[in-house]
Amino acid sequence: MNFSGNEARRDEILSHLGHVKISDLFAQIPNKLLYPEIPLNTGLDEHSLRRHFQDLSDANASALGGIRFQGGGFYTHYIPSVVDYVSSMGSFTTAYTPYQAEVSQGTLQSLFEYQTYISEITGMENVNASHYDGATAYAEAFRMMYEANKRKGGRILVYSQISREYREILDTYLQFTDAVIEYRDLFESDANAAEIQLPEDCAALSVSLPDFHGRVADIRNLADRCKEAGILLHIHGDPLLLSVITPPGQLGADVYTGEGQVLGIPVNLGGPHLGIFAVSGKLLRKIPGRIAGETVDSNGKRGFVLALSTREQHIRRERASSNICTNQGLMALRALVYMSAMGRDGLQTVARKCIHNAHYLISGLRKLTGIEIDQPDALHFRELRVTCDYSVDKLMKYAESQGITPGIPVDENSILVSTTEIHGEDELDRLIELFKTFDQQEV
């Protein structure tokens, strides 16, 4: 397979340039290093290539089936067909960063519309045009807050359960700074947010809605305390959940991040996903990444351009707050198409169904013996942690034989169970039945 076009004139052009053979073009390269022996195949025709990938895809499919309740940061929501249709248009996929705005209004207006959707859902004023994913947005938010509020001290309090993966990525991003992260849990230590003692030397405080266990805390008092204490408030929130709860902007958040995978993007083994990043007005010039902005053309007509690029690395170089460039443009487009096709009503229907399904499970499971649900009376979004009297490993094996994957094990005795709008009640019932039957077997 080779797409590099016309070869008929190759020799003509080569000699027109005064060369004899193609390797003359590489005269700057030490001759002994030229054209190394590279033991890769010599290429496949397209038909053979597709066969190869069909085999690989089949190998996956044969191992994965049944009803699945996996989440933990990546969720299977229904993706309307129109999302794939629009996002596979060559005019979007084969364009690049809209440096020449006059011929890139498709990309630019899409990004501006994406920013507007996210701004309305989150209540935040300034949204960037995307970040790599939720976790990197999260980590860069911490870097940004640490830099912006360093004079208060290097501590950042994380008041929610977050996943091990998020912790690892946060550690990686902060490893060469003096920031210190402390982990607490609103549900465990400070049930009543009004009583929380916030340390003096604290630059920022972070809450996740929902947290890793699917729990949504009432943080209104906590948010007020942050404001009083001059601590930056960061909310990491699921954009679907935010369509039905008080948004971060209204809670007084200074920084918002989120994982946009749930907005029409497949799980795809972890990527590409979509990091959502937003800040309040006072942090506008600190936000990393590209942003689309409105302007006018030479005739006064509305149009869009990349805005505020003086923050960025290609201008500020080592003084930039991040090295991030253009990143997930097509995923922001997918999210926009998803949000616009679903509309307000569709997004809220999905969010409510995720809450409903989680509580349907809670109400079925809490009656059973042998398991316990983490905070069953809290508001749960999509997910719950179930702690079992028995080994989760054994449960998983049994479940597999029943064609069910009940969740993701988080330790030897607990499992994170996730449900989205794609599950019908019959499927939820089968999961409840599974726990019941297995417990009976165990006993």
């Binding site: 700057q28 290093l33 364009a95 083994l269 942003i291 302007t295 290609h314």
Partner: protein
């Protein structure tokens, strides 16, 4: 014509047809405390429009029509490598067996694991490195990975004083920004008249504080650094490591291996060299390759083969994770298809043709727009706007838009005055390259005679020239609802 924003033609009534609402909804008491105003009813606390699907399709069809893309015409945006994105790669990537795999099932999905394992191998073979980590999400994250590895390497040896990184003045801005993110200092190397790293200048900058040096090769002037082997050797002697910025690997893949030149660690820009769609600005992927001395520092997950099964693991001294899951798998998959389909023969031919075509275009333009610095160029070349009558480089760029071509990269590298950075790529036929050269020459003629016409460009696009200054003066970053 004008394309209204999605809010400007609100159709408030359509019901969502994608998901049926729950009957007998079960909302917990705790919901009330945090409920969004109006979320229970239909009051517009969430001011999002409700369109029918036809409106959505039309909206995006119109937006698509106002986008320039590789599919519309030649897109010689230097350093971005706007080459053909084979449709077969999109087709294989959308197979159901891949897109729905959850990271928790990774090791069950042996097909996906095989893709990753094979791609690690292919990138290692093409670059000469001993190990490759695929998870970095983009070139910039790959850089971050690589420079973190360099810092960690020194620290693991108890060598805490090495916190300076050398960066040539022609480098992309990401290089110095990355160094800063790793808490280290940048020392800039001025380039010499030939547009290359000056060995004497280099010697003057090398000392015990040097953690390493970042070098793009071919560099951003489109020139292969002729002294690269010597540079690597001197940096090594000073105790530093060599970071390769792989942005321009597409010129030399199959021709020479960066590891053989002396680099220790390098990132790949898969969307450039290995033909994944640029997506209007991402997603890309930025795998990192390194020598065996550094491989213990790579971020996980890496894939190994145990007997007949593929398994994921993380090296012992890893700098840590940078990205959830297995990186941008959807992009990695496409690059694996690209490399497997092309094979070593196709990859090598692509590099050769990319270089041949850049030199041909350079030659065609030699009188009108002479390239800076010596010959031959690699996959791209840089010239300065030759006009002295007030016509700016940006004017020339906009005039190209009126001719149906995308503009080259402009005003970069910073070391070249009024720079035009031109990369035709191997995908463009000689005929298309000739047409572009012809258009550019005519534009320069016109602009010389009639500078006002140049300032007015573009005139054939839906919108005239957009005011970027106004956009920054009082930023409007979302529609006011």
């Amino acid at each position: 014509g004008h394309i209204p924003l999605l809010w400007e033609n609100i159709d408030t009534s359509r019901k969502n047809q994608y998901i049926k609402p729950v009957e007998n909804e079960r909302m917990p008491e705790a919901f009330k405390a945090m409920a969004r105003k109006g979320a229970g009813g239909n009051t517009p606390s969430l001011r999002l429009p409700q369109h029918n699907e036809l409106y959505i399709v039309r909206h995006f069809t119109r937006l698509a029509a106002s986008n320039f893309s590789i599919d519309s015409n030649m897109y010689p945006l230097g350093s971005c490598t706007m080459k053909y994105n084979p449709r077969v790669n999109d087709a294989v990537a959308s197979a159901a067996g891949f897109a729905s795999v959850h990271p928790a099932d990774a090791e069950k999905a042996q097909g996906s694991m095989e893709v990753l394992f094979n791609l690690q191998h292919q990138l290692a073979q093409l670059s000469g490195f001993d190990a490759v980590a695929l998870s970095p999400a983009a070139g910039a994250q790959g850089e971050l990975t690589g420079v973190m590895m360099i810092r960690k390497y020194h620290e693991s040896r108890g060598d805490f004083g090495r916190t300076t990184v050398l960066v040539p003045d022609t480098a992309h801005g990401t290089n110095p920004a990355t160094v800063a993110m790793c808490g280290m200092n940048v020392r800039t190397i001025p380039s010499n008249e030939a547009g290359q790293v000056d060995l004497a200048e280099l010697d003057g900058l090398l000392d015990e504080s040097i953690a390493g040096m970042m070098l793009t090769n071919p560099n951003t002037l489109g020139i292969f650094e002729k002294d690269v082997v010597e540079i690597c050797s001197r940096v090594h002697k000073a105790g530093g490591l060599m970071y390769g910025d792989g942005a321009n690997f597409n010129a030399i893949a199959g021709i020479v291996r960066p590891a053989a030149l002396g680099f220790d660690v390098m990132h790949f820009n898969l969307h450039k060299t290995f033909g994944t769609p640029h997506g209007g600005g991402g997603p890309g992927a930025g795998p990192v390759g390194c020598t065996w001395e550094l491989q213990e520092f790579l971020p996980g997950p890496l894939i190994r083969k145990d007997k007949d099964r593929y398994a994921a693991y993380t090296p012992g001294k890893s700098i840590g994770k940078l990205k959830t899951g297995f990186g941008n798998f959807g992009i990695l998959l496409r690059s694996y298809a690209y490399i497997t389909g092309h094979g070593i023969d196709g990859i090598t031919t692509n590099s050769e043709m990319a270089v041949l075509k850049a030199n041909y275009l350079r030659n065609l333009l030699a009188k009108y727009l002479p390239a800076h610095h010596g010959t031959p160029s690699m996959h791209e070349f840089v010239a300065s706007n030759p006009l002295k009558n007030g016509v700016s480089t940006m004017d020339i760029a906009k005039m190209l838009l009126d001719r149906g071509f995308h503009a080259p990269t402009v005003y970069f590298p910073l070391t070249v005055k009024e720079a035009l950075m031109i990369e035709p790529t191997e995908s463009e036929s000689f005929e298309e390259i000739e047409a572009f050269a012809q258009a550019l020459m005519e534009i320069l003629d016109t602009a010389e005679k009639d500078p006002e016409a140049a300032h007015r460009a573009p005139e054939t696009t839906r919108l005239g020239r957009l005011d970027e200054v106004a956009a920054n003066r009082k930023p409007v970053l979302h529609h006011k609802l």
